[in-house]
């Protein structure tokens, strides 16, 4: 059983390698102009060169920093606000419908407003990323709090627990799956908004790197940047998935 899993995985890697080889052939035969499509060899060389002699590492760190600060700010704010709204029935009936109304708003539309208020600055990027990624966590927390087993609240009342204790010991743990699912969604949003903000405001990061490479028609550098962005998306999703299954292990055991 295990061997067949590994075998399929290997075969799947071979297919991916074959597709990359096809890309190489297409680039070598100049089926597509090399201005648009560099071969994987040139993109790889550009990636390596960017790391050893260029400032690609600094750009990578820039994007990661923007993403991490905005996402962490949104996580703290989203869960705190969500806990406040979700733990009170009155708040839920007054505030939650407004939030549901705002949810389908494409969050990138807030960017011009943020630029007008804060200028083309780091603060603007931080605000936009945090604002955009707060929604999944906020709504996830509210939903999770609303779905807590009512008998747990009854137990808390019998034990005379304070409201804070109820939130920390009962509501937060049982809302954890919804909150973590929201955090995973937010990661993607944070990455996208970080890239857009870097493009618009010229902040140090991969978004600015890929845009400048495209303007200078340096397609190998451009593809190197896109590959790195894909890698960020992949690694952060993987890490979040691992954290999620670890944090929720107690729940899987209970079921």
């Amino acid at each position: 059983m295990r061997w067949s899993v590994i075998g399929w995985r290997l075969a799947s890697f071979v297919v991916a390698a074959g597709l990359i080889a096809l890309w190489q052939v297409a680039a070598d035969q100049r089926l597509v102009s090399p201005v648009f499509l560099p071969g994987p060899d040139r993109a790889w060389a550009s990636l390596m060169r960017g790391f050893t002699s260029g400032d690609l590492l600094a750009k990578l760190m820039g994007t990661l920093t923007h993403m991490a600060y905005g996402w962490l700010l949104a996580s703290i704010g989203g869960v705190a606000l969500g806990a406040m709204i979700g733990s009170s029935k009155a708040m839920r009936s007054y505030v939650a419908p407004t939030l549901e109304l705002l949810r389908p708003l494409p969050v990138s539309a807030i960017i011009p407003v943020a630029i007008a208020a804060l200028g083309l600055s780091q603060g603007m990027a931080l605000f936009v990323i945090a604002f955009g990624s707060v929604w999944p966590m906020l709504l996830g927390t509210i939903h999770g709090f609303a779905a807590v087993e009512p008998r747990l609240y009854e137990v808390a009342r019998v034990l005379h627990m304070s409201r804070l204790a109820v939130i920390l010991k009962i509501a937060l743990p049982s809302a954890a799956p919804d909150i973590l699912a929201g955090m995973r969604l937010s990661l993607t949003v944070a990455l996208i908004l970080a890239v857009v903000c870097e493009m618009l405001a010229g902040l140090d990061g991969l978004g600015q790197w890929v845009l400048l490479s495209a303007r200078a028609f340096r397609s190998a550098d451009l593809f190197a940047g896109v590959m790195l962005l894909g890698l960020i998306g992949y690694v952060t999703a993987l890490a979040m998935g691992a954290a999620e299954s670890r944090l929720l292990r107690w729940q899987a055991a209970r079921r």
Partner: protein, 255 residues
């Protein structure tokens, strides 16, 4: 305490708007980023009556839906193929995992040098973003079809094409529609984001122009309008889903 249940949700936004209006008027705030709600409403009415807002909406929705059609079709075909054939699914795994995490806006510069400004570039990026939700959910839906239906198809000696047309698509249709509904939301978000970042077209470009022209009232009017568009699209698709497939399809959202 005797506030009727139906009025509660309206109170908060109404109070916020009134307080905002009063503060702007009384304090006589002059700002490049804020405008009182009454001025925003006037700007919205103005933009609606001179047709510029409607033209922009048409451009944005046209690109979003063209991208949705393109990406959705690719995702649907691939999803059905991957759902039907375990071998194909396992062989493509690494390739899909490698391409999927690339944030759609990272492709912006590539699309820019390959296709230039305009509809085509925006459609390509929206299409890329829409492939994945449709592919993943169609694959899961097709993979989860009752095996006996497939056996029936085999007994009836249906051709591969008939099998897909008469058994697979009808059986998986509710979840495929759900996938398209989610993808439509993504399409609008990506279209607006592309327009804000770079493409001089549609609502996103309109809001950027208003910001650069230091017209906060018009900018906020665009923001409100974008929100309304997102909300209407979401509501229309939800209604369509409920009437077509009944309530069960909407409740299945969490899956």
């Amino acid at each position: 305490m005797s506030v009727p249940e139906r009025i509660k949700p309206v109170l908060l936004p109404l109070a916020a708007l009134l307080a905002f209006e009063a503060w702007m008027r009384l304090a006589g705030v002059q700002s490049d980023s804020l405008a009182p709600p009454s001025a925003v409403a006037l700007a919205l009415a103005g933009a609606l009556s001179d047709g510029s807002l409607l033209t922009a909406t048409r451009d944005t929705l046209a690109s979003a839906f063209a991208g949705l059609a393109l990406g959705g079709a690719i995702g649907l075909v691939l999803g059905i193929a991957l759902g039907l054939s375990q071998i194909f699914n396992r062989l493509m795994e690494v390739t899909i995992e490698a391409v999927r995490p690339i944030p759609s806006v990272a492709l912006l510069p590539i699309a820019l040098i390959a296709l230039g400004f305009g509809y085509r570039m925006e459609i390509a990026i929206v299409g890329f973003a829409c492939v994945w939700p449709v592919l993943i959910m169609t694959r899961a839906a097709v993979g989860g079809i009752e095996p006996r239906l497939i056996e029936v198809a085999r007994v009836l000696r249906l051709t591969q094409l008939d099998r897909v047309r008469k058994i697979v698509i009808p059986a998986a249709l509710p979840r495929i529609f759900l996938a398209f509904r989610l993808a439509a939301g993504i399409a609008l978000i990506v279209a607006v984001t592309v327009e804000i970042a770079i493409n001089p077209l549609g609502l996103g470009a309109g809001i950027m122009t208003a910001q650069q022209a230091l017209r906060p009232d018009l900018m906020l009017a665009y923001l409100v309008w974008i929100g309304v568009t997102g909300f209407m699209l979401n509501t229309a698709l939800m209604t369509a889903q409920t009437t077509l497939f009944g309530r069960a399809a909407v409740i299945g959202d969490g899956a």
